[in-house]
């Protein structure tokens, strides 16, 4: 009896004890694995973020430096205006042979024999072709400079700039390089004499489009983006707030308002390129607005940003407690007064946060702008939103299609500037929320 009992109890206890042991181990291992997967997923995401930023920064930080060659340019009258007609015909100064001035100065600085054409050509190739406009602008602005010698900082050509920054592999065979040994020797001479220097690149912030990397900048594109952001802000914020107030506070609950609500949620998820097609067909073909204009871009981006602003504003209005409304109504305010004097000011931080996030989104948007003709080679600052202009992300797109090393550097530099704008805007939104958001 006792035997049976003991044996049965041991038979009962033993297998279950071992089974539970094995099970626990396996299950805990699965638990640890599962946890590790989760951690690995987050780390993978962060790794990609890091690689992305590192690519941009490592390629782009050098874009903020530019090699310049400061040469004593002799503004010789016999080259610029040999027949002395500038008093009668000032346009002569526009078409004078300025590259010759650069050539003479360079030949003198490097001590090359002017008769050796091949050498002279190699030497002048080191200076950007934009030197012509630079010198022309100096002379046109101040014709008295003719006949004197002035030290002018000229931009170095893109490949020379890359070589000076150490981005061109000098161990490669000379014929396969964009910069030859003779030019490297001259670069050394110029650097030693203090003529060739690396300075902070202000040009990238002020220049417009150019086929030469050293003379290309984002200034013009940034102005186009600024116009568009102002249009978006001026239209999307009031319209978005008005629409949300109607939907949240006045609209009767019926089929129509349900439809509007579903519709707005859908518009927020429509691919941005569809808005480009809308802009092309309605604003440009139907309404006859000019192609490439910042006005059309601004309108398209406004339509794209509206759903974001409406959704954020409605959430902010919803968060204002009903007691505020009841108190105002109880004191005799009309519904309109209640909303505009009490509810809306309390919801304003949320509204502004949503607006800033919507604007940041619009600032980085490229696809719809490609369709309305903003892929344009714009050299001059647009004077108004009706003139042809381009946008910061579109400029990045156009540079990304260029093959030269110096353009890769500029593209990354422009991306860095764009990202800094976005970071500032988003930080502003976060600070606004932290500072003013009220918990009821």
């Amino acid at each position: 009896m006792t035997e049976i009992a003991s044996s049965s109890s041991s038979a009962y206890a033993r297998p279950s004890a071992t089974r539970r042991d094995i099970g626990i181990k396996r299950r805990y291992a699965a638990e640890r694995r599962f946890r590790a997967y989760g951690m690995a997923a987050i780390l993978t995401g962060l790794f990609f973020l890091f690689v992305l930023l590192w690519t941009v920064i490592s390629n782009g930080y050098t874009a903020f430096q530019q090699t310049t060659v400061t040469l004593p340019i002799e503004f010789a009258e016999k080259i610029i205006d040999p027949k002395n007609e500038r008093a009668a015909n000032p346009s002569k100064l526009m078409s004078a042979n300025y590259p010759l001035l650069v050539r003479d100065a360079l030949v003198k600085a490097l001590g090359i024999d002017p008769a050796n054409r091949a050498d002279v050509k190699k030497a002048t190739d080191m200076i950007s072709a934009s030197a012509r406009t630079q010198l022309r602008d100096i002379v046109v602005a101040n014709p008295a400079v003719i006949g004197t010698t002035v030290n002018v900082p000229l931009l170095a050509e893109g490949n020379i700039d890359s070589a000076n920054k150490g981005q061109i592999d000098l161990t490669v065979e000379e014929s396969k390089r964009k910069v030859n040994d003779q030019q490297i020797g001259w670069m050394k001479t110029l650097t030693d004499s203090g003529a060739m220097t690396k300075n902070f690149n202000t040009g990238i912030f002020t220049f417009g489009a150019s086929s030469r990397p050293e003379a290309a900048g984002i200034g013009v594109a940034a102005l186009g983006s600024l116009y568009m952001m102002l249009i978006v802000l001026a239209l999307a914020l009031p319209i978005g707030v008005a629409a949300s107030i109607y939907l949240e506070e006045f609209a009767p609950k019926n089929r129509l308002t349900d439809l509007i609500e579903v519709n707005i949620n859908n518009l927020a998820a429509v691919p941005s390129i569809v808005y480009g097609l809308l802009g092309l067909s309605i604003f440009i073909n139907f309404a006859g607005m000019p192609r490439s204009a910042a006005l059309v871009g601004g309108l398209v981006l406004t339509l794209m940003t509206l759903p974001t602003i409406i959704i954020a504003t409605r959430a902010a209005l919803k968060a204002v407690p009903p007691s505020i409304r009841s108190a105002a109504l109880g004191l005799g305010a009309s519904k309109m007064q209640t909303i505009f004097h009490h509810v809306l000011p309390l919801a304003m931080p949320g509204v502004l946060t949503g607006t800033i996030i919507g604007l940041a989104h619009a600032l980085g948007e490229t696809a719809p702008l490609l369709l309305i003709g903003m892929v344009a080679f714009v050299v001059d600052y647009p004077g108004s939103p009706m003139e042809p202009s381009t946008a910061l992300p579109v400029q990045i797109y156009m540079w990304a299609n260029e093959a030269e090393r110096a353009f890769v550097e500029r593209t990354s530099g422009a991306i860095m500037i764009l990202l800094i704008f976005l970071v500032v805007m988003n930080l502003g939104a976060i600070l606004l929320r932290r500072r003013f958001e009220r918990r009821w």
């Binding site: 690689v51 992305l52 107030i245 518009l267 429509v270 569809v274 073909n285």
Partner: protein, 494 residues
């Protein structure tokens, strides 16, 4: 006197009406504001509204209708020789007349006289003033241009007078109506309510605009290409139609583009879903609040980076990296260092798009997982399940409909994504299954067909709208279904 300037004048009238209305209301109250029904400001607002709104409406109608009317009568006055050559020539001539009209404004008396007696060449004279003419100017153009100029200036003067008279009349009428019991506030609020309704109808108008504009252009496309050959065609070869050239017949098969779009989106989802989902699970179930508060915003930075930056990343880093590593792998296995992954390929575009989608998947799923009630978890843990078992057997099944909705929303984003595929996927429209080669997408072709100087009425350009409406329908279906699932699911726990 152009329209913006007149609008400014109207606004000034409005401001004056506001100030006058307010002070008149003060005067009516004799210092006892309580006898007024509405505050003086509302009386002022009412006067301003009466002054500005009718005038602005008339101004808008006039500014839209007058040019059409002037065009019509100038077109009618063009010589019979022009009309006989068909509508296109007439429009061209009208365009020239308009640029001549612009140029004539810059000329002085003597030059005008020379032009009128035929002693000066129209084109040369205008070119000297910086107005280029497309064709040689003809004599009738000067007359038509003068007619155009005189009608335009008459219209401007009439418009200015009419609009200003209406504005002032509105203001005076409103000011005369100010009395103590007048319910100005109710009137003003009614107008405000209309304005609010108008603003919220813009959302509907946008949708109607999208559907209407794309549908009408797509129908024009389907007039020259049959819908069957578009939707079921397997060859995409639109040919090139330069402006002014004879229309060339191309083949517009949607299927290769759709295949590329779905393939790339599939690769992207394959990459983003496991990472995003596991990240969301870890963040909602395991992570310490401190870790979560750092990792979540960092991951969401990925969502805030513009897509053009991802495109550049694919072009400069990921594409060349995959190409080089495939060459190395091939070399290790077969000895020949030839890359089998192209720099622009389905894989490149898919991976980079996947990186972009990670935060979408993770934050949408995170929201849904945290919405699963605490009690379900506690019950499962109380029965002895480990945390991962609770997640796999209780939390995820409960959250599944919501997660599917989130994934559908993400997929719709992948299908509509443009800049990454433009830079990373290539332009070759092929139907094939090798992820290491280039394929192209609907969005890439929309961009390709619409950039550059193309003739707008050719099927080569209009096809972009047919592609656009296809894309819109696909994403619309995905979105509506996803929103439906997410909404339905959310209601279960509320």
């Amino acid at each position: 006197m152009n329209a913006p300037f007149i609008l400014l004048l109207v606004l000034i009238v409005g401001l004056v009406a506001y100030l006058a209305g307010r002070s008149r209301a003060f005067a009516t109250s004799n210092g006892k504001l309580s006898i007024l029904h509405s505050l003086p400001g509302y009386h002022g607002m009412y006067a301003a509204i009466c002054a500005v709104i009718p005038a602005a409406i008339i101004l808008a109608i006039w500014a839209l209708a007058a040019p059409a009317y002037i065009d019509g009568s100038v077109r009618g006055a063009l010589p019979e020789a022009v009309h006989s050559q068909g509508a296109a020539t007439t429009e061209l001539a009208l365009g020239q007349v308009k640029s001549v009209a612009n140029g004539l404004k810059l000329l002085d008396e003597a030059e005008l006289a020379a032009l009128n007696n035929g002693s000066a060449n129209l084109r040369d004279v205008l070119a000297a003033k910086g107005v280029p003419l497309a064709g040689a100017g003809e004599a009738y153009m000067i007359k038509s241009a003068e007619q155009f100029n005189s009608m335009t200036s008459t219209s401007h003067i009439l418009m200015a007078v009419a609009v200003l008279v209406i504005a002032v009349a509105g203001a005076i009428l409103a000011l005369r109506g100010i009395t103590a019991p007048f319910r100005a506030r109710n009137q003003v609020e009614r107008v405000m309510l209309w304005a609010l309704m108008l603003a919220s109808s813009i959302a509907i108008l946008t949708t109607i605009g999208i559907v209407g504009s794309m549908l009408s252009e797509a129908i024009r496309f389907f007039n020259s290409v049959s819908p069957a050959s578009f939707f079921f065609g397997t060859v995409w070869d639109p040919r090139f139609a330069a402006a002014g050239s004879e229309a060339t017949q191309g083949q517009f098969g949607l299927l290769p583009l759709l295949a590329g779009t779905l393939y790339i989106a599939f690769v992207a989802m394959l990459f983003a879903v496991p990472i995003g989902l596991f990240a969301a699970i870890y963040m909602s179930e395991y992570a310490q609040p401190a870790v979560r508060s750092i990792a979540k915003p960092l991951l969401e930075i990925l969502a805030g980076i513009p897509t053009i930056v991802y495109g550049f990343f694919a072009l400069v880093t990921v594409g060349p990296f995959l190409r080089d590593i495939s060459a190395q792998l091939n070399g290790l296995v077969t000895g020949s260092y030839v890359s089998f992954i192209q720099a622009q390929s389905v894989l490149t575009a898919g991976i980079v798009m996947g990186i972009m989608l990670i935060p979408f998947v993770s934050s949408l799923s995170d929201d849904i997982i945290t919405q699963v009630p605490r009690a379900l978890r506690d019950g499962s843990l109380g029965l002895g399940a480990t945390r991962s078992e609770t997640i796999k057997k209780v939390v995820l099944p409960a959250a599944l409909p919501g997660i599917v909705g989130a994934l559908l929303l993400t997929a719709s984003r992948a299908v509509g994504e443009t800049m990454i595929v433009v830079l990373a996927a290539g332009v070759a429209a092929r139907m094939q299954l090798n992820p290491f080669e280039a394929m192209t997408t609907v969005t890439v072709k929309i961009v390709n067909q619409l950039t550059g100087d193309l003739e707008f009425n050719s099927p080569q350009t209009l096809v972009a709208f047919a592609l656009g409406i296809t894309l819109f329908c696909i994403t619309l279906c995905l979105n509506i279904y996803a929103l439906y699932i997410v909404r339905k699911y959310r209601e279960q726990y509320e």
